[in-house]
């Protein structure tokens, strides 16, 4: 049978197939769509930037021989035990509950092999992730599910989560299918209920309170640990300034492309700003406060390649964090499960029903049989391989730009491919010296 296109039928650009399906689903169920993954719409991104490399005016480093360091230290200013990472790529916060214990272990194994950190999530710290993560960031979330001062003291850093890129102003969700006995016990909730986390912290309400909250966390842990503050990319200039003023050692900035295990589709696609647009204002805030490269900036949301890593660093970040890409590296959306994805109404490469707990790859599930499919050792090795490739790619670009450390990359190494990305980043449009809104006509 010929495809509709072959028969000359024309799909609507406005009412495309996905829009029609969404209307039909809403009409049938009366319930909004909840899904995982992150924003799927096209927004200005790192692909809209290019590196210039070197020529006569810039001198490159030898590609495979000359030293190009990748280490980054978090919390050197305030923490008696700063967190030293070998690579500027960390694993973003993802909960046990959203992910299987095997997936959490695999993340720990892969990150540890490359000398970087993983992060807990809503629901607390599991033995699997503490045992297998050499460097573990413990999140303090609005829900405080599983919040335990013993775990706080065991952590290598503490991350106060204000919001996440997939849902700025929203809160965690975990549907009943994934509230197993163990998850329910960790979160002090009845088994099988649809769990919604709080969207506001229970004991602080504004920037002045946050200052005191950070002080309390430092006091409880004897000023040992770096304190991160994670914010969704919405008003990054102001949020960065407020986080720094409150005493953060690290600002984690999560763009709208940042992933989620379960969020309303309308939230994922329509709230927050793109990662690309968020970095500039945050760096400006840090620079104005005289703390750029002292208070560290971790950027997340849509990091896929070493080029993305290098571009984020060149715009002024000190590190990136990956979530969705890390899950793909573990085996999420792997074609080997194609038949099973089809059975549950999806397809390899499209699967985003992380909320449903039926993940054929055994990653976003609490079903013991499905979770047992993921070999934490093999999956951890895949993640380590991927992290290595990201690092090598970022180093390749840094050397081409003449840099002996990846964080020496700078905005002058970049140009913008589109007017939008030029305006958002303050970089000149490629082949010109024009920055929209800043220096006159093209």
């Amino acid at each position: 049978m010929r495809s509709p296109e072959d028969r000359g039928l024309r799909e609507s650009a406005i009412f495309d197939k996905a829009s029609i399906a969404a209307i039909q689903h809403a009409a049938e169920t009366g319930i909004y769509d909840i899904r995982g993954w992150g924003a799927k719409r096209a927004v200005p991104h790192f692909d809209d930037l290019l590196f210039l490399g070197s020529a006569i005016s810039r001198y490159p480093m030898e590609g495979y021989r000359e030293r190009c360091d990748t280490d980054v230290t978090m919390g050197a200013e305030n923490a008696s035990k700063p967190m030293e990472l070998d690579i500027p790529i960390t694993i973003a916060g993802m909960s046990f509950g959203a992910l299987s214990a095997q997936a959490k272990e695999a993340l720990g194994r892969g990150a540890s092999a490359m000398g970087t950190s993983t992060t807990t999530g809503d629901g607390g710290m599991t033995d699997e992730e503490r045992t297998h993560s050499d460097k573990l960031v413990y999140q303090l979330l609005p829900s405080r599910y599983g919040m335990n001062p013993d775990h706080l003291r065991q952590a290598d850093a503490i991350e106060v989560v204000v919001s996440q890129g997939a849902k700025p102003g929203g809160s965690g969700m975990l549907l009943g299918q994934k509230i197993s006995e163990r998850v329910a016990a960790m979160r002090t909730l009845p088994e099988g209920i649809d769990q919604r986390s709080a969207c506001r912290h229970p004991d602080w309400t504004g920037p002045d309170d946050l200052t005191l909250k950070i002080q309390e966390l430092r006091e409880i842990t004897d000023w040992e640990k770096p304190i991160h503050v994670k914010v969704a990319a919405t008003r990054p200039y102001y949020d960065t300034k407020l986080a720094v003023a409150a005493g953060a050692d690290v600002v984690v900035l999560d763009g709208m492309q940042g992933g989620t295990a379960a969020t309303q589709e309308v939230f994922i696609e329509h709230v927050g700003i793109p990662t690309l647009a968020a970095i500039g204002p945050a760096v400006r805030a840090l620079t104005e406060m005289g703390v750029h490269r002292k208070v560290k900036l971790i950027v997340s949301g849509g990091i896929r390649t070493g080029a993305d890593v290098a571009k984020a660093l060149a715009l002024g970040a000190d590190s990136v964090a990956i979530g969705t890409a890390a899950l793909i590296a573990l085996g999420d959306n792997d074609p080997r499960w194609a038949e099973e994805y089809e059975k549950i109404g999806s397809a390899a490469g499209y699967y985003d029903d992380f909320q449903a707990g039926q993940d054929p790859a055994g990653i976003t599930t609490q079903d013991p049989k499905l979770a047992a499919r993921l070999d934490p050792v093999a999956a951890g090795k895949r993640l380590a391989n991927y992290l290595q490739v990201l690092t090598l790619e970022a180093q390749t670009i840094a050397r081409a730009c003449g840099k002996s450390h990846v964080t020496h990359l700078e905005p002058e190494d970049l140009v913008a491919l589109t007017i939008e990305s030029a305006a958002m980043t303050g970089l000149p449009l490629a082949g010109t010296e024009w920055v929209p809104g800043r220096n006159g006509d093209l």
């Binding site: 335990n148 979160r187 009845p190 709080a198 229970p202 004991d203 005191l212 002080q215 309390e216």
Partner: protein, 232 residues
């Protein structure tokens, strides 16, 4: 931990810093401490994790007794926001009033407030117990998951909004109930539970007074919000 002395150690916060106090309490050398000149300072006596007695003679600011474990802490004064937040075990006793978010997210232990507690008392409670001899403010027990709250006075607006499985006992009036919070039958096991909590709070006479116990109403979850397609 090395053997602790029985001699009470005096710490004067006009001479020592909060950081020095907390460092001592995290590696205690004595079974008993008395802290003076607290003057509304923040993060006083946070992160205690040993069975020690600490008495604070004065008012404290934010987060006193934050994430408290095992110890027995008394505040002879007023307590600022977030007192005993995320308490895990042990006992915290405030002889004055408590500000907002008292015992927020407490997983265990007992908080006793002789006076009133402000808004959001017991917010997101996760298994801890709270006895307030006076009144509590609005939005108390918001999203409270487990644990018990006893209020010998009145409760403010929106009590127990979006509550899960925590049990609330209020003797006086309730300005309004929050979404999905309802009055519930007071069965024998609840009277016993209430009496025990009053005893634990040092209210032995009231605990043995059946008329006093009868004057309480129990509140809890109607459980209509436990699934996304069931009432939002």
């Amino acid at each position: 931990m090395e053997a602790l002395t029985d001699t009470t150690v005096e710490i004067d916060l006009s001479q020592s810093t909060v950081r020095e106090l907390n460092a001592e309490l995290h590696a205690p050398t004595s079974k008993s401490y008395r802290v003076s000149n607290s003057r509304g300072l923040h993060s006083v006596a946070v992160g205690i994790k040993d069975e020690i007695d600490v008495e604070i003679d004065g008012d404290v600011g934010y987060y006193c007794a934050g994430m408290h474990q095992k110890g027995n802490l008394t505040i002879a004064g007023m307590a600022g926001p977030g007192v005993a937040e995320n308490m895990m075990s042990g006992r915290v006793h405030i002889k004055g009033h408590a500000s907002q978010s008292a015992a927020a997210t407490a997983h265990g232990g007992l908080l006793v407030v002789d006076g009133n507690a402000s808004t959001r008392c017991g917010i997101s409670l996760k298994g801890g117990d709270i006895v307030v001899k006076g009144n509590i403010g609005a939005l108390s027990a918001f999203m409270a998951q487990a644990g018990r709250i006893v209020v010998c006075g009145d409760a403010g607006e929106a009590l127990g909004d979006s509550i899960f499985e925590a049990r609330l006992y209020v003797r006086g009036s309730v300005a309004s109930l929050g979404t999905d919070c309802i009055a519930k039958e007071m069965r024998d096991e609840h009277r016993e539970e209430l009496a025990q909590l009053l005893k634990d709070a040092g209210m032995e006479d009231e605990a043995n007074d059946s008329k006093y116990l009868d004057s309480f109403t129990r509140y809890g979850s109607a459980r209509t919000l436990y699934h996304f397609n069931s009432g939002e």
